[in-house]
């Protein structure tokens, strides 16, 4: 079996994912309209965030309520970097690294807490950062009052097509990363921790280290996704960068799509993107409507859409089709 996979052609599912990636990458070239590229870009950013949130909540059992800390930190690093003359490409990486370093820094105190304590402990961090960045202004003039906002300079030449490709790359990387993590020993250990932390520890899993790895990986990807968003929309301030929106998006996408399922965030991110644009006209009511949808999903179908699809056996037919097609290819 394994030999077959390695020696002959790659499995059909891999082939289809690569084909989808290539088609999506070609969209700007073949003249897909800019508004669609805009929708897809937002979808990619949401997808990367949701994938990482799913890695933490669905596979590692860490209900992390601080994605907005990572997004805001990376956005600020990018913005402040461009003010100091750092090119934005370097700023992206620097933003992600700062987010990951922040995760490393706080890992020791936050991992002492479990379950609900962990959730509330992480919820404090973005609030602290929001206050900090409201008063701290390392470069540029100090504003009076509602200061401490920055525009990202030097990205005027970056078109939507460029950010589209960046977003696509990050979304694809996030999917691939989760897939790889689940295949390795790290994923096995994480799932064991999620199911029962004490048993996992007594079975020899290094609980702290495994959690730390997934936390840092998630912080890095969330950071870079946030930084790319702030190239697309080059203005950041404390209430925007550390806005609860950056928590709501991945949380909703994961819960609606299906927590702990690989395809869940993809379905969920698509729905959340649709909702974002559809509800944009309703102003403040949009938050209310999103909250109601979240409550309905949690109470009515806690497994999310992907869970529902699995329950009714919606995948059986395509999987059979795949297997039949693969069998035919390998025979010839």
């Amino acid at each position: 079996m394994v030999v077959r996979d390695k020696m002959k052609i790659p499995r059909l599912t891999t082939l289809i994912s690569v084909a989808a990636l290539v088609v999506l990458a070609l969209f700007p070239v073949v003249g897909v309209s800019l508004s669609w590229l805009n929708y897809l870009f937002i979808f990619f950013i949401y997808l990367a965030l949701a994938n990482m949130w799913n890695l933490l909540a669905g596979y590692s059992g860490l209900i992390c309520l601080c994605p907005h800390a990572f997004v805001g930190l990376a956005g600020y690093t990018l913005a402040i970097g461009t003010w100091l003359g750092v090119p934005f490409q370097a700023g992206l990486i620097a933003g992600a690294i700062v987010a990951a370093l922040f995760a490393l820094l706080i890992s020791y105190p936050v991992f002492r807490m479990r379950g609900i304590y962990f959730a509330i402990g992480t919820l404090i961090l973005p609030e602290v950062l929001k206050v900090w960045f409201s008063y701290w202004r390392p470069v540029g003039n100090v504003y009076q009052g509602m200061g401490a906002g920055y525009s990202v300079t030097g990205v005027a030449g970056v078109t939507l097509v460029d950010t589209y490709w960046l977003g696509l790359a990050i979304a694809a990387a996030s999917i691939f990363l989760v897939y790889m993590i689940l295949k390795t020993k790290l994923g096995l250990g994480l799932t064991a921790i999620r199911d029962n932390e004490n048993t996992a520890a007594s079975a020899g899993a290094n609980v702290f280290r495994l959690k730390l790895y997934s936390f840092i990986i998630a912080a890095f990807i969330m950071g870079i996704a946030g930084a790319v968003y702030y190239i697309f929309s080059p203005r950041i301030n404390p209430t925007g960068g550390f806005s609860i929106r950056w928590l709501l998006v991945p949380l909703m996408a994961t819960v609606i799509g299906g927590e702990g399922l690989e395809e869940g965030p993809i379905i969920g991110a698509a729905i959340v993107t649709f909702l974002t644009f559809r509800l944009a006209d309703y102003g403040a009511w949009s938050l209310l409507i999103q909250g109601i949808i979240l409550l309905v999903v949690v109470t009515v179908m806690p497994q999310g859409i992907a869970g529902l699809l699995r329950q009714v056996g919606a995948y059986r037919f395509p999987v059979k089709l795949f297997q039949a097609a693969e069998g035919r290819i390998h025979k010839s």
Partner: protein, 291 residues
């Protein structure tokens, strides 16, 4: 040195009085946490909803905020009962995480609701007595901080007597101490949960009035209150009223003394309480006075 000590007296009194507000907020959170082992992530937002309710009663009906509570407390009680009965109890059947996410949904809904109705601008409960002060010997005391302290004390004593003397109160204490045994004694836990959440909401209505008189508020003022009150209950330990009271005072003092000692820096005043919560969580997640 003497001047320093005399200068220290006003922030200490202000901090202790301010602690009363945090006690009221924390009692609601602590009741739900004690019975269900669930942190209601939307508790801070429910307090702010209480503030907006008082604001609406004041500006639309011309009612004094405290008079508005006659309407607000039963309304919040009923609302809390329904929310627990039809939403949170359902999610408990799935997992604790699902319930946590459901309370986050409540937080988002409340934030969206007040933002849609009252716009994101800062509001406050501008009663005639809000900014009044009076002198006690050499000290001047603001009435609103004194009201916080009296409110905190009153709600705490009322809740304590309720938990000790009524059947429902005893049932709630029993369910929070040992759920399986309470169940065998004929207590229906889901019903107790509903009443606990309803009482927590009533506390939020009272806390909302006190918070609205003390500070101005916006639709996003909720999460900071949640964090501080969470800090109060882990500092005070669960189920200990005296602990909660002391915890509230310590957080009040942290804010006022932090501001005073740093020369009125807003950064320190806002960040000091968060850092204290974080340090407590990291050093002793089970609480200082907890077991």
């Amino acid at each position: 040195m003497e001047d320093f000590l005399i200068g220290l007296a006003p922030p200490i009194i202000k901090g202790i009085f301010l602690g009363g507000l945090y006690v009221v907020i924390a009692l609601g959170l602590s009741l739900v946490f004690g019975v269900m082992k669930l942190i209601n992530v939307g508790h801070g937002d429910l307090v702010i909803l209480g503030s907006y309710f008082a604001f609406a009663a004041m500006s639309w009906l011309g009612m004094d905020p405290f008079l508005g509570l006659v309407m607000g407390v039963p309304l919040f009680f009923g609302f809390g009962f329904l929310v627990q009965r039809f939403i949170i109890n359902r999610t408990f059947r799935v997992s604790l995480d699902a319930a946590l996410i459901a309370t986050f949904g409540i937080s988002i809904i409340v934030q969206g609701l007040v933002q849609a109705i009252f716009t994101p601008f800062a509001r406050s409960l501008n009663t005639s007595y809000r900014l009044e002060t009076f002198a006690v010997g050499p000290l001047t005391i603001s009435l609103r901080y004194l009201l916080d302290f009296i409110g905190g004390l009153a709600v705490m004593i009322a809740l304590r007597e309720f938990l000790r003397r009524t059947y429902l109160g005893k049932a709630i204490s029993a369910a929070s101490q040992n759920k399986p045994v309470a169940q065998r004694m004929g207590i229906n836990p889901t019903r107790v949960y509903s009443f606990a959440f309803a009482i927590a909401m009533s506390c939020a209505a009272v806390a909302g009035v006190l918070q609205g008189l003390t500070f101005s508020f916006t639709p996003t003022s909720g999460p900071p209150l949640l964090i501080i009150s969470f800090g109060v209950i882990i500092l005070g330990g669960l189920g200990s009223m005296a602990g909660t009271f002391i915890g509230g005072m310590i957080f009040g003092l942290t804010q006022t003394l932090g501001a005073y000692l740093s020369g009125g820096s807003m950064l320190v005043q806002n960040i000091a309480a968060y850092l204290l919560v974080f340090v407590i969580l990291a050093v002793r997640p089970q609480g200082i006075f907890g077991r």
